[in-house]
């Protein structure tokens, strides 16, 4: 059996999820040059928000067809509120401060959010079961697709297309581009940059919530520390694609997902590489790829070369 199509599909599903989270890193960085390390936790709270809607808001036994949109909205609201709140109360007061101050704040916020969920959410000390879609898995040719993967493969391109249209066509979207290029001049041209920054955080938060629902559907659980590893990978994806570039985030995510999958599947089949392949080494190869890309294209795969403002 040829496993390549299946492995490509696996990589695409995983990568789409990375990409959705990476959007949040890249948009915030593009506009305020802040690496929002709390974004992984915004992703996590989205998952818990969606789960709460299912457990506590909807009546027991609601069909997933009705529950899923409600969970998306609920998770989205939680993530967006936390992202916007973080911007308003943690990052905005530090807008003029040296670059390190908001960075450390972000790390602190990340730990704080994790601990709050861990201590306050009922039974959050272990994995919590996430509701599953009542259909699938499907088998198309030699590829089998889980129901949770269908969600991400539909949601990710939709979100991406909507975002691309929004940024390039709407008035607010163009104001975002202007703010990203030069915040001071944008402000002089009458753009309310504070509003633009809030919108960037909100969009990142919503995408993270979509990714969190995808995560829950795919792996069947949510956990208070799920944001750490996913956040780290998504940040890597954003850098790989070119941080600041929304298309780069998605492409970086896909490349990273494919790289991990390929490393797991094929490297230990290469003669002499048996010790260096398999699931345990997938992250290593993903980071080797990142280093290689950054060696030759420091701006990332599709990033533009910009003078370092640090």
């Amino acid at each position: 059996m040829n496993t390549l199509p299946q492995q490509l599909a696996n990589g695409l599903f995983l990568g789409s999820m990375y990409g959705l989270i990476a959007i949040g890193y890249t948009m915030v960085y593009g506009i305020v040059q802040l690496i929002n390390f709390a974004h992984g936790e915004i992703f996590m709270t989205g998952g818990f928000g969606a789960l709460s809607v299912y457990l506590y808001v909807l009546p027991n036994g609601t069909s997933m067809w009705i529950a899923l949109p409600a969970m998306l909205i609920g998770g989205g609201i939680v993530s967006v509120l936390i992202a916007v709140g973080a911007e308003r109360f943690a990052y905005r007061p530090l807008r003029g401060a040296p670059r390190l101050a908001p960075l450390i704040t972000a790390i602190g916020l990340s730990l704080a959010l994790q601990q709050v969920v861990f201590n306050a959410y009922p039974n959050a000390k272990t994995d919590l079961t996430f509701p599953q879609l009542p259909f699938g898995p499907w088998h198309i040719g030699s590829i089998s697709i889980q129901s949770g993967s269908v969600f991400v493969i539909v949601a990710a391109p939709l979100c991406m297309a909507a975002l691309a249209l929004f940024v390039s066509l709407s008035r607010t979207g163009r104001a975002m581009q202007a703010t990203a290029q030069d915040p001071d001049t944008a402000q002089l041209m009458g753009i309310d940059t504070n509003r633009i920054i809030v919108i960037a955080f909100a969009i990142g938060g919503f995408f993270a919530a979509v990714a969190a629902v995808a995560y829950g559907l795919r792996y069947g659980t949510v956990k208070y520390d799920m944001g750490f590893q996913m956040g780290l990978k998504a940040f890597t994806a954003a850098v790989l694609g070119g941080i600041g570039n929304i298309y780069g985030a998605m492409i970086g995510g896909l490349v990273l997902g494919l790289a991990e999958t390929m490393a797991t599947s094929y490297i230990d089949g290469i003669p002499g590489m048996q010790q260096l392949g398999g699931g345990g080494w997938s992250s290593v190869w993903a980071f080797v790829l990142l280093i290689l890309v950054l060696l030759f294209r420091p701006q990332g795969l599709v990033g533009e070369r910009v003078a370092d403002r640090a």
């Binding site: 696996n10 995983l14 079961t129 129901s147 590893q229 797991t264 230990d268 345990g280």
Partner: protein, 406 residues
């Protein structure tokens, strides 16, 4: 010059601090001569949060009930027992820090834990130096009691370390025997999590299975904390294996089994006692149906001696899975309490009590709630019972109990 004076200052301060603490503890024991009972602490170290915490909390609960029973029955006159539970988060370095903390507390005369073999490796030396007895209800890595070269020449590395669980040397072989002879599986795919426990168990299963005549369809490793196993699942499916053996904990295996079945590979996952948790079934859901584990001892639920324990556990509102190691934790704590009873008379803790308690634990012999409790010359339990459990209708069901001697 300046550096030297710093060294002297530090030395003076440390000596002073040590003297003061020594004085402090002497005062404590002086007080207890009156009507007040001496307080003795049984330490617990286990993952109480995060990974493996469901089983970890079961250990804490088991010890708590043993201590409550001892206090109620006045097992050791003049002494009240207390539990001091520390969370190691399944991280070896945290375990070592906790061990240091427990050793420094003079009231701690015995410790139950840890859950994870990898954590134990970092704690044994600390306890050994302090002569503090440590009984693990769940560590199964053979080298903990029988030394690094346990396959060729057994030597006991630490005299203060005991366990009420039997070793992977038996567990891996028992599982391999069941897989080959009872399940009639012939091609196995072996996965482990690269930890002391998981990798060791997987290796022993592999050795046992291939020795019986089974074939190895493939082998891979995962990282703890990984969630996406789709690539691995595709490899397993492609290898045409009829069984997957997983050496590791439930945190990863519950996701692996779900992705395995969703990915179209309808073969059971077989694992060790690290997977034996209700959380595994709850999280994996239907896909876990038919999966198997081996666990040490006999099912607590089926033992008449444990009925009272289970009743108390359920009534107490304690969290965690008592089913896996709760009974063993109870027995471990009881062994320590009994040893303390032999050493501490009328609430007076003699000099060198810790060392004397170690010697008493070595001589332990009683019928615990999970089976007879006594230790061999390596600190291993003499109770070599093992049980295979299978998920049937969403519950772990014992399918075979027996002893295995390699």
């Amino acid at each position: 010059m300046r550096q030297r004076s710093m060294v002297i200052l530090t030395a003076v301060l440390t000596t002073g601090a040590l003297t003061l603490t020594a004085c402090g503890s002497r005062d404590d024991s002086g007080d207890s001569k009156g009507s007040k009972k001496t307080e003795i602490i049984i330490g617990v170290d286990a993952p109480l949060t995060g990974q493996n915490s469901a089983t970890g909390l079961g250990i804490q609960g088991g010890v708590q009930i043993a201590v409550d029973d001892a206090n109620k029955n006045n097992t050791v006159p003049g002494v009240t027992f207390k539990v001091k539970a520390l969370d190691d988060k399944a991280i070896p370095a945290s375990g070592q820090a906790n061990a240091t903390q427990l050793v420094q507390d003079d009231k701690v005369l015995g410790v139950v834990g840890p859950l994870n073999s990898g954590v134990a490796t970092q704690m044994q030396q600390v306890f050994d130096t302090a002569n503090l007895v440590e009984i693990s209800p769940s560590n199964t890595a053979p080298e903990l009691t029988q030394g690094k070269n346990w396959q060729t020449s057994k030597t006991r590395p630490f005299k203060t370390y005991f366990r009420t669980a039997t070793t992977d040397a038996l567990q891996g072989g028992f599982a391999a025997d069941y897989a080959y002879n009872t399940l009639k599986k012939r091609k196995v795919y072996v996965v482990d999590d690269k930890q002391t426990y998981g990798a060791g168990l997987a290796k022993l299963f592999k050795a046992g299975f291939t020795k019986s005549g089974g074939k190895l369809a493939g082998e891979d490793h995962v990282n703890t904390g990984d969630t996406d196993f789709s690539a691995l699942v595709t490899k397993i499916k492609n290898s045409k294996a009829d069984l997957v053996y997983y050496g590791g904990q439930y945190d990863e295996s519950e996701k692996l089994t779900k992705q395995l079945k969703d990915g179209g590979a309808k073969i059971p996952l077989f694992g060790g006692d690290g997977m034996f948790s209700d959380t595994y079934i709850q999280t994996a859901g239907k896909p876990s149906e038919g999966d198997l584990v081996t666990s040490v001892g006999q099912p607590v639920d089926s033992l008449a001696s444990a009925a009272d324990f289970i009743k108390k556990y359920k009534a107490s509102g304690l969290k965690g899975d008592y089913g896996t190691y709760g009974g063993y934790s109870y027995d471990a704590a009881t062994a320590i309490i009994k040893a303390i009873g032999a050493v501490v008379k009328d609430g007076k803790i003699p000099d060198g009590a810790r060392a004397k308690i170690v010697a008493e634990v070595q001589k332990t012999k009683f019928d615990g709630i999970a089976g007879p409790v006594s230790f061999d010359e390596y600190g291993d339990t003499t109770n070599k019972q093992l049980t295979v459990y299978q998920v049937v209708d969403g519950k772990w069901k014992a399918v075979k109990s027996g002893t295995f001697n390699g």
